[in-house]
Subunit: 493 residues, 2 copies
């Protein structure tokens, strides 16, 4: 067996254990009764240790050296590159640091769950200091190994190849037009009237509606399921993708579009190249590309006129006994395109969302690079919120810098993916429209041409290409935020 | 760390991996879409290999030697005994034999799924010859290692300590009175009339009814769930027990009592000693004792007058719009105590079931001990069916010796557990009634006293005692089939 074959086989083994982790993780979030948590946590921790052991076995280093001497054909260069990337990511950090991070992160996150509600910055800051310090150490080690800046080295975990220089340029550009556009749209919407859902919307009916929309979006039910969890997510494995949603009896609007979003993630997973299953090269390219697929479904397709019309019809047919005016096209469109300046990122609309992300990006970038202290964060948050959204978070930590879970356990470098995803999605749609009559396809109810384009250009590529190569291959150019701006202006202005 | 501590820690690790296997196994049977099967099978096989490796690590032998020199206190002797038992069970067989068995078993079982429907004994026999041969080899290796006869060595996997000598005695006794009793009861029931369910019984309502019955039986929903699968089972782990059922829209009788049965298994698991969680000594004592708990719930409590009255009331309240006569106590009792001579074990009633088991026991005993050839089985089956139930299976392999899955992959030694369980259950009930007013407890709807007895005498003991010690501790004597006979006569004659 060649060194590359040995590596492939070893990573298939790792992938088998990751499969079990994914299914049991999904189960813990969607099926497991509370009393099962302790034993499950122990079992999952044992599995993590085992996967880590497999990922750090000493002979792998020799196999990589050997494999790099092989003359490789077809996809094998990319396969080896991604194997090495995943291996390096898992071998860069000393065990001691990983353990210290896990400990400090768990402690900080656990306390945060109470502290956030109590607006207790003082308490939070004490635990968080250690998390930040350890993340800075991690970033420095990654920087030393890769020649990147500390923050770029953290970004690289989620967005391989994406750098601060380009993010600064992208986001600075957004900052030149977004605040003004937000004000303009809010002014325009001020006089609009619309009907919000009221009364009861049976959750079994909401689920039936969700499944109907998933069918329209050609979710492959032979390779996946829809279930419920407190925090919706897309999990499982490509051959068996598990998406979840959360139903609220008082309204169906959020859950319905949430299902469209998760279906985008799911179809990317279901469409990954089967010939590379179990290998890193067969996995999703990056968090940003993953988000581009969910946002393509949710924002590009899901909020298009033709799709809104489908949703309105389906919901109207599902929830008889409510006023038909609720399900009028105009009303549905208004429900799904309402813009509002508010504090909370996860509840933000499409237009204000980038402001929330850019604020976080700028703060975490400077924090990880050591340009600011963690105690500077509340003031910076307040000043940037005022600048981008005209809201003050002074002394409001709950709805300010303590609102997200990400930083509590050191996930620095992740936030940009959300807005990168939105930008990629807009660019993909612009490119797709050059060859596909998207609006007619959606209106006809047969979206095959859209999915074929995504499959050919994105899903089937897995991680064979770099993100830049992928985007250029699909759209003729690397990431260009003009498409995003044009999209937002066309929809909202 | 002492050798025993090392062993405990190692088996906790194994238990963590078994936890993942149990949850993913449950998922495969109850949640997984068909398209997920291939990747799941690979992941589960990888996990099995890993667990086998952990179970056969060379240092364990030294640790056992050392631990046996330690002076042990409290439960530790039993803990060590059961650790060693599980370890020996997993280390007795050469890898090659295990692999050959797995291969031959899979091949035989897979082909059987088609061959059974086609009544194809010739085809089946060819594959089965290898399965039987390998099982005989396994039995001989186990016999050599333990000093038991080959069949006793196989029995020992499922019923530690139970021997052919005592089974012969128990079952020969049953054969002296059962056939006559069956005839008597059938004659008595011949003139009885009753109403069978007809029309539709909504499966969501059936589930709600099942959950209501589980509540009555104090299933702990903080540590378990009810779901659906093609073949009902009780799986998961003690902290998170997953039971399943299968609903038929045309009737609710089977599924409802099936849930009562699985709840018996589940409460045993939920009641195992938490201080020994993850250790063999903390697991269920044997298959027969496990079945005694499900049958205690299904047959002893579940078919008692007072419980039948609860079921009739609950079902009547659930399925409005059906004739109230269907839910009359008398009718329910008749539905649940109907006796019929028939071919199929899994559909058999309480009274004829032992005949099916004894037939199988006698055949597999002689087969494994080499006293008969596998080609003798159809003729023996036919003659014993004629003798015990007055039915001929000549040339009817489908409903004769090819009806069960057990033998297709070599699970010889398992069948006796079913009837041992029924006997233990009857004996437990007789003993319980000496101190607990069972009928009043059931009638009151508060069955706590019953469950306390089971918890104190059975569940909380795990595998700390041998089966004989357990039964003697609970009832004052070792297994005595007279209680079973008395129970059947009292209910049916």
């Amino acid at each position: 067996m060649s060194a590359l074959e040995k590596l492939k086989s070893h990573f298939q083994t790792i992938s088998n254990f990751s499969h079990l982790s994914a299914i049991c993780g999904w189960d813990a979030a969607s099926m497991m009764p509370a009393g099962g948590n302790e034993a499950r946590s122990n079992a999952m921790a044992e599995l993590s240790v085992h996967i880590h052991k497999l990922m750090t076995q000493p002979q792998l280093s020799d196999w990589f050296d050997e494999a790099e001497q092989q003359s490789l054909q077809g996809d094998d260069s990319a396969v080896l590159r991604e194997l090495k990337r995943q291996w390096q990511q898992n071998n860069l950090l000393p065990e001691k640091l990983v353990q210290a991070q896990s400990l400090a992160g768990s402690k900080c996150e656990h306390a945060w769950r109470t502290q956030r509600g109590e607006n207790d910055w003082q308490g939070f800051e004490k635990n968080w200091a250690e998390v930040v310090k350890l993340s800075q150490e991690e970033a420095q080690i990654r920087a030393n190994a890769t020649g990147l800046t500390p923050y770029d080295a953290m970004l690289d975990k989620f967005e391989p190849g994406t750098k601060t220089a380009s993010l600064n340029q992208l986001f600075d550009n957004v900052k030149t037009w977004l605040p003004e556009l937000i004000d303009e749209v809010i002014e325009k919407q001020r006089t609009e009237t619309f009907i919000e859902p009221s009364g009861k919307f049976d959750t079994a009916q909401q689920k039936a509606l969700g499944l109907e929309v998933m069918k329209l979006l050609k979710f492959d039910f032979n390779h996946g399921r829809l279930d419920e969890s407190v925090h919706p997510f897309c999990g499982g494995v490509p051959s068996d993708v598990r998406i979840t949603t959360r139903y609220d009896e008082n309204e169906f609007v959020q859950s319905l579009m949430g299902i469209v979003h998760e279906t985008g993630h799911a179809r990317y997973e279901q469409g990954l190249p089967k010939s590379l299953a179990g290998l890193p090269a067969g996995e999703a390219r990056s968090m940003g590309i993953h988000e581009s697929q969910s946002l393509f479904f949710e924002m590009q397709v899901g909020r298009s006129d033709a799709f809104i019309q489908h949703l309105a019809n389906m919901a109207g047919n599902t929830f008889k006994g409510h006023s038909p005016d609720l399900f009028a096209f105009d009303n549905f469109q208004k429900l799904y395109t309402r813009v509002k300046k508010d504090f909370i990122r996860v509840d933000a609309d499409e237009l204000t969302y980038p402001a929330h992300v850019i604020l976080r990006y700028e703060i975490e970038r400077d924090l990880i690079n050591g340009d600011i202290k963690h105690t500077d964060v509340p003031e910076l948050w307040d000043s940037k919120m005022q600048q981008y959204l005209g809201l003050s978070t002074k002394d409001n930590f709950t709805n300010g810098c303590m609102q997200d879970i990400h930083w509590t356990d050191g996930a620095f470098g992740y936030f940009p993916s959300y807005t990168l995803g939105a930008m990629y999605a807009a660019q993909f749609m612009a490119a797709m429209k050059e060859t596909v009559d998207v609006d007619s396809a959606v209106a006809s109810g047969d979206l095959t041409a859209i999915f074929n384009w995504l499959s050919d250009n994105i899903w089937s590529k897995g991680s064979l290409l770099s993100t830049d190569e992928l985007v250029k291959g699909a759209t003729g150019e690397t990431l260009n935020a003009d498409y995003f701006q044009a999209h937002l202006r066309s929809r909202y202005a």
